[in-house]
Symmetry: C2
DNA sequence: TCATCATATTAGCAATAACTAATATGTATG
DNA sequence: CATACATATTAGTTATTGCTAATATGATGA
């Protein structure tokens, strides 16, 4: 396996480290949305969401396209979608594992 | 797909949001190590590494076992290992994608 | 071209997180 | 039971991040 540059990797993972950003990703995981739709969707602040979208774009997690006065954002591709799904799957597994097996260690 | 609690998810993802923690995970991805081995391995500070290990344990990403005066840490299980691998895979794909297709958008 | 609407950017403040040094806990061994 | 060593915890400081409000940019259409 090739070695991925750690700083590039951190920049990428940084995209997943904030609640609002995760909410955005969940919101647009299946279909693209305009900024204002996202703002409504997750009940956020326009400036804030815009900044987070810019961050997510910088991380490569989402892409945007302008259509008239709207900008539509979507998750970059299926692989990124798969990664998001995998996070949920692994988390669920870990939760189960912790519940049953870590009790005596705590 | 079941809806994962967002705050639980954030706690989990927080484990992946720091460079030192990622270095730790990479260091113990294949085989377990003691705290001091990890400290050496990534050239870190004992207190700092210990705190990060505690964080990673809290996130469910790693587990520790005491053996005499040593504590061995390892990545929790194969699924977590797979997730770490997947991050690298997706990142690599995104990098390639950005390099070839996002230039005119930047 | 002016007014309006969608989005982006900036600046300043508030909240979190990370780091270091010092100290505490706990395990082994003479 | 005293000493040494491995790890954990705490406290204080610094650095990073996120938020909000205000303003700027850029597109549309009267």
């Amino acid at each position: 396996m090739r070695q991925v540059d750690i700083d590039t990797k951190m920049k990428f993972l940084h995209g997943l480290s904030n609640k609002t950003r995760i909410q955005i990703l969940e919101s647009i995981k299946e279909d693209e949305k305009t900024v204002s739709q996202i703002v409504q969707d997750i009940n956020g602040n326009q400036s804030n969401i815009s900044q987070h979208l810019s961050c997510l774009k910088g991380c490569g997690l989402v892409v945007g396209r302008q259509d008239g006065k709207y900008v539509y954002y979507r998750v970059r591709n299926q692989l990124v979608r798969d990664l998001l799904t995998m996070v949920d799957v692994v988390l669920e597994d870990v939760e189960k594992d912790v519940a049953c097996c870590d009790s005596h260690v705590e």
